[in-house]
Symmetry: C2
Subunit: 138 residues, 2 copies
DNA sequence: TCCTTATTGATAACGGTTTTCATTTTCTAC
DNA sequence: GTAGAAAATGAAAACCGTTATCAATAAGGA
């Protein structure tokens, strides 16, 4: 009966507990990339009693399942935000408030694959992040 | 006398001490992105007595001055390598050995600026890193 | 309900990096 | 060459985000 590591369509893992429900609802409303600690603080602000460890754990699972996107700020801290689009995409993120827009760039994917191949690399992956200041923060 | 938050004036300060000289020579020879601790270990291997703190400090200054490039591996650790070309560029880096090739991509810079502008962002910056497995490691 | 197993969370540990601060070294001025 | 001020060094401690521990709790099927 253990069905722990079932494939499970993405996102369905984190359901069933009060804590997961609360986290999901906070994530659904947060418009900006936020740190695990910020998310935890937001939960407490709402009166939800969820341990910080649990927040980290859930976010880890969610990001593996593709339910949340992650980026790293300049200090190296990991920031999370619920994923809007399901395919491969990148972000334009505000340095000040964390607000973020998802963008596609097929040309970029092709470029990355090409230059890597030219350099003799295989099994290629890439990270592209764009930072700036959004209208409100400028 | 605190000197913490204004470490040193500016410019190419890293010269003049035995430690800086040793670090510069190690950096010149290391072909791969390496962590501060790896670089420190390499210094010790060569019989140079340089403190880990000093390695971190020098690398920080060098990266600010553009003398070394930095990337972050998947665990969040910062890796350093002496900068080969002087202009803006990106890297194709081997996940296994850290070996890296510098590449240019004017099309990518333009793309990043454009999508950011379209999203209403200003003061735009971007990070692009490509990872793969190099010929030797594949 | 009972029972097995997964989940939770307070706390401790971890690991990379930065701070502290007393000591050493460098550099400039004699 | 030497003195003295300023900068650099480095061992140790602090820092801080994150992960591991593990006893207690909660969930869901029989």
């Amino acid at each position: 009966m253990p069905m722990s590591s079932q494939p499970m369509s993405r996102g369905t893992r984190v359901r069933g507990t009060r804590q997961a429900e609360a986290l999901g609802s906070v994530l659904a409303e947060l418009p900006a990339f936020s740190s695990a600690q910020e998310i935890h603080a937001e939960l407490r602000r709402r009166g939800e009693r969820v341990g910080l460890t649990t927040v980290y754990r859930q976010l880890q699972v969610l990001s593996q399942d593709g339910g949340v996107d992650t980026i790293r700020d300049e200090s190296g801290e990991t920031l999370y935000r619920r994923c809007r689009s399901s395919g491969h995409h990148h972000h334009v993120t505000c340095r000040s408030c964390g607000r973020s827009v998802e963008v596609e760039g097929r040309a970029i994917e092709r470029w990355a694959d090409r230059v890597a191949a030219e350099a003799g690399f295989v099994d290629v992956d890439h990270t592209v992040e764009i930072f700036g200041r959004c209208v409100d923060c400028a």
